[in-house]
Symmetry: C2
Subunit: 245 residues, 2 copies
DNA sequence: ACCCGCCTTTGATTTTGATCAAGTCGCCGA
DNA sequence: TCGGCGACTTGATCAAAATCAAAGGCGGGT
């Protein structure tokens, strides 16, 4: 099964016509924005909010997916594995991304929470029905797909052509720009990924990631506490090291 | 400018109501299938068929795009470059793919013909208008985006976690399965890419690509003539070398 | 046919990052 | 407070691919 830990379900009958998805409550830029109040109510009625602890699998590679979800907060890793166990993280999703694969029941990848993550789940039947009723919803999902495609292609450049040093700096830059979406770029943040996860994201080994982080620290590009909390004195400098022009 | 070589324009007034795009003529699985005969006529009237010679740029990174296109035959490379010139091919498009980036005027990548390629161009104004009139068209574009996303993520696994040998075998497998879409997988074909292009696609150097191709030949996984014409005795064997389970 | 230029191959050497192998740090529970 | 365990770091060595360098081959033009 894909959803791990049912947390609570908001009683939607307290609000008459919600202006946001009742289950999601706040910030959920996912799909709700394009719906009419009636459709939103419909969706809320079928939504479930869930909390997922780090390392817990949301959807396994090859399993059938019966739901979509908005990420309310937290970070989700999307990864693929080779038969012999080599693993590659092919994307990270942050709040308020929409997760799920329209128009196919089979998932080509594994989704796993990287940190404590809350998601708001919708059964696929409801989304599929709403898509056919509200053309704006398909447009919204289409834009999400295009955004993920752009990110994937940017990352291909990183994987194929950057040095270990540039890869690690690129990763830190991604986190700085995504971890706190309302603030935009942040120069202080906690890494949502372990060294092993970072290695899987960058196509490197744990040891190489560790060494490169040490090097960035020694070069005063970053400061680091508890191996997770990062401070970036100059984001321009970080970008430069990352090879981003 | 993005389109290079105007070839000819079909006189669409000869046919009354076309059942396929008149400019595209045959095989053009791109977008036409979802349109009504009237819309198809509309589209055909504004379409232009063009031929592009190898190495010719269709759309440059950072330029504004004023058109979409169906690939009628040939292969188009999509690539990104770093400031210092390092290049990564982030996707290949084959007939009958639809090319172009909905909802944004700025291209994040460079599109360039790999071999002699014919495309059928539509002005973005026409496509954007048809999208708002025909919901099926957006669905078609959405599916194209999802297909490209899947391919990009598969390739990220190749770039991040496979050896040079596996990368080259994976590339040959991609070509075998895409070069001739109506036949499905082919075990004899011409490579549409030079060694330099293959290297840019695989995140390797020319020399490494050449050595790995030589090794595949010596191991009897492939036969090769003129450095471009490839025969694959056993596609299963090739898949196995490519690390595809 | 011959030459020239480009693409490809092959060889020698170097470099980067992987692998193997110990530590160290920090956190949680006894 | 003390272990113990998991995550991270650091060091030594190795291997894969990059780089540097020099030939081949193939095709197009004269």
């Amino acid at each position: 099964m894909q959803i791990v830990n049912e947390h609570r379900r908001k009683d939607i009958h307290n609000s008459d016509i919600p202006t946001v998805c009742a289950a999601c409550e706040a910030r959920h830029g996912g799909v709700c924005g394009t719906l009419t109040p009636d459709q939103l109510l419909d969706l809320s009625r079928h939504s479930t909010r869930r909390s997922i602890e780090p390392g817990r699998e949301v959807i396994g590679q090859g399993e059938t997916t019966d739901s979509y979800a908005n990420i309310i907060n937290g970070v989700v890793k999307l990864s693929k594995v080779l038969a012999d166990g080599r693993q590659q993280i092919v994307g990270l999703q942050f709040a308020p991304d929409f997760m799920g694969r329209p128009f196919t029941r089979e998932s080509a990848l594994t989704a796993e929470a990287a940190v404590d993550t809350d998601i708001c789940c919708f059964p696929r039947t409801v989304i599929d029905r709403l898509v056919s009723e509200a053309p704006g919803l398909e447009h919204r999902l289409h834009e999400q797909a295009l955004k993920e495609l752009d990110e994937a292609r940017d990352w291909m450049l990183t994987l194929g052509r950057k040095t270990a040093q540039e890869k690690v700096a690129s990763f830190l830059y991604i986190i700085a720009t995504h971890i706190d979406p309302e603030k935009g770029t942040a120069n202080e943040f906690d890494l949502p990924l372990s060294r092993a996860d970072i290695a899987d994201y960058l196509g490197l080994t744990i040891e190489t990631v560790s060494r490169q982080i040490t090097k960035l620290r020694k070069d005063n590009v970053i400061r680091i506490e508890n191996s997770r909390h990062v401070t970036v004195p100059s984001l321009d400098r970080l970008m430069h090291v990352a090879g981003i022009d």
